[in-house]
């Protein structure tokens, strides 16, 4: 998310609106993002409706998921206009979850093969 560009653009605006405080942006951007979210959701539903399988299915599901999540956080939740201390504090910690997911996928493979080898089903 090009936050360098975004903060440069938003800072004067924030200073200007400081008497009122908060995030104020033109309405148009919300309608654009709203529309995009509808389109992306239709695409994700399409993945199931048209029965994509295997790698293409995973790739498309994850692609549309991250695009939607990114748009919601960046624009609807105003993260791209927030100061970077808040941005880093909120967006960096969830990256640790990759460790949990990695560990648990190793663990579940172990459980799966234990079941196959010792229970035979």
């Amino acid at each position: 998310m090009d936050h360098g560009h975004a903060t440069a653009q938003a800072l004067p605006q924030q200073v200007h609106h400081d008497s009122k405080q908060g995030q104020q942006h033109p309405l148009g951007i919300y309608f654009v993002i709203w529309g995009l979210l509808f389109v992306l959701s239709t695409f994700s539903y399409g993945v199931d409706y048209f029965g994509f399988h295997g790698l293409a299915r995973w790739f498309l599901i994850l692609l549309f998921m991250w695009l939607k999540a990114g748009l919601i956080v960046a624009v609807f939740m105003h993260m791209r206009w927030e100061r970077s201390p808040l941005m880093y504090a909120i967006l960096v910690p969830p990256l640790l979850l990759a460790v949990l997911v990695g560990l648990m996928s190793i663990e579940s493979a172990y459980t799966f093969w234990t079941r196959i080898l010792f229970f035979g089903f």
Partner: protein, 228 residues
């Protein structure tokens, strides 16, 4: 509040430098950020971990089971006009939640314009979308329970499907329900003029953060639980 905040050292820095300056400043972190907004974000961060634990456990039980996993596309299909449409109920719920996110974003905007009536109406519309979503979820739960799905058993294969389904969608539905109450309360206070007196509509934006987060979590549930 705003005037002295601008004069604070480090407030003019950008990017990583401002992150370091704020956090090592021995003053308040998050300069020029409303305390309520910072607290809401920190709450949402903790909630992110809660939902991630659910979704990670779901991944673990699904990939470790030797029994077949039910096909969500069929489980959540509805017969409309004599034709079975896959996953249609969940697709409609997704669109309802996205619509509610849009009306919420507009409500925040009209709040900062001090348009109390429009803010209230848009927030109530958001809450109404949320209530519709929860009702559809209740319908979905009823359907699955009647078909014999329980947290410990499932007629189509792996019993873990039942526990993951009720736990994840239940916890999300609880968040939506709380959000409906939260938004309705704030909407009434907006109309009554509580924030006009304070001259500060950031409360609406903070409520909006919570609501958008509920939509955000649904994006992940939709992808991992219903589509995968």
């Amino acid at each position: 509040m705003a005037d002295h905040a601008i004069a604070e050292p480090g407030a003019e820095l950008r990017g990583l430098e401002s992150f370091i300056a704020d956090w090592s400043g021995d003053q308040e972190a998050f300069k020029r950020v409303h305390w309520g907004k910072a607290m809401m974000w920190i709450f949402l961060l903790s909630d992110t971990f809660v939902f991630s634990c659910f979704l990670t456990s779901y991944m673990t039980v699904r990939s470790s089971t030797t029994m077949p996993w039910p096909n969500p596309s069929k489980v959540f299909a509805l017969t409309i006009g004599g034709q079975e449409i896959p996953l249609i109920l969940i697709a409609i719920m997704t669109f309802i939640l996205i619509s509610s996110s849009g009306t919420m974003a507009l409500a925040v905007n009209y709040g900062y314009r001090h348009d109390r009536t429009k803010t209230m109406l848009l927030m109530l519309a958001t809450a109404a979308f949320g209530a519709t979503f929860v009702s559809m979820q209740a319908f979905e739960w009823t359907k699955l329970i009647l078909e014999g799905v329980r947290p410990w058993v499932n007629p189509w294969g792996a019993p873990q499907f039942g526990s993951a389904f009720f736990m994840i969608t239940g916890f999300h539905g609880l968040h939506v329900s709380i959000g409906v109450i939260y938004l309705t309360t704030i909407a009434i206070k907006v109309k009554r003029g509580d924030y006009e007196r304070k001259g500060n509509y950031e409360v609406v934006e903070i409520a909006g953060l919570y609501w958008h987060f509920v939509d955000l979590v649904w994006v992940f549930i939709f992808a991992f639980f219903y589509l995968w």
